[in-house]
């Protein structure tokens, strides 16, 4: 995939399929430490140990349409390509935590891409998911909570689809204020 934000969309989609109601996306970029860290935590049903060990194998999947699942293996590959690490922890009944690290300035590192579009897409697909998106760079930090969207809907008596454009604009502005060169 061309953007890390697409991997993030894919991973959170997995979390939603695992019946998560809360998801936290935490991104930290540090130019000084040449480090990019993406952590995704969910309260879904979790996976047994056996599955955690096998999950980055493309021939292991929960899908029923085909016996091949590329998602996690592609994400792991993206981390390893940029001298990073990939760490998955999961507890049955409690949830899953995925931590990806990248060398920020490694030439093979896939760009982060359009996080605003990823977050907005997740809200459209699953409006009652409680999604927190935190992002920190050398320039600053911010936190976006999907309840912001629900709050705007209630305040202005808008439908979900009417709220999407202002929400996206709000997110893009926030991202712009902390955007680093990475």
């Amino acid at each position: 995939m061309r953007e890390l934000s697409l991997h993030i969309l894919d991973i959170v989609t997995n979390a939603i399929e695992a019946e998560a109601t809360r998801v936290i996306i935490d991104i930290r970029e540090s130019q000084q430490e040449d480090d990019l860290r993406i952590r995704i935590r969910d309260n879904g049903r979790g996976m047994p140990e056996e599955m955690v060990r096998q999950v980055s194998d493309p021939f292991v999947t929960t899908r029923t349409t085909r016996p091949v699942g590329m998602g996690i293996s592609l994400t792991k590959q993206a981390t390893l390509m940029s001298k990073g690490t990939f760490d998955l922890k999961s507890t049955l009944g409690k949830g899953t935590e995925l931590c990806m690290r990248f060398r920020l300035n490694c030439l093979n590192r896939v760009p982060l891409g359009d996080m605003a579009e990823t977050v907005i897409n997740l809200i459209i697909g699953t409006p009652d998911l409680h999604l927190c998106y935190q992002h920190r760079t050398d320039k600053g930090r911010f936190c976006f909570d999907s309840y912001w969207v629900l709050g705007r809907m209630a305040e202005n008596d808008w439908s979900l689809y009417q709220t999407i454009a202002p929400a996206k604009e709000f997110l893009q502005d926030k991202i712009k204020t902390i955007e680093s060169l990475g």
């Binding site: 349409t65 085909r66 998602g71 697909g125 809907m153 689809y161």
Partner: protein, 120 residues
Amino acid sequence: MKTLADLRAIKEKAKLEMATREQTAKYRLVVAMGTCGIAAGARSVMTAIIDEISKRGISDTVVTQTGCLGYCDQEPLVQVMQPDKTVITYGKITPELARRIVAEHIGRDQVISDHVFMQS
């Protein structure tokens, strides 16, 4: 500052809105968002659909997402469902085509037959 109770009430209201929309919807648009769909561009297809729907003020349509449909080579896939009608599945959708689906299929009830991948 909103209290937790306020937030819960807001969430319930939003849920109710979506439920009403689902029940009264004339059209249901489904975007396939498995790994294959996402890699092929389903995210910008979804964005284009929502943008076009809100621009046109369409209120009888609900947009949802699904996982891999098993036709990864045809991604991004978009399905148009109507009660008691055959499901139309469009394949290899671009954001421009997605806008046309909203304008022509949803807006004027005209199937864009050149881009139909499957009817079921």
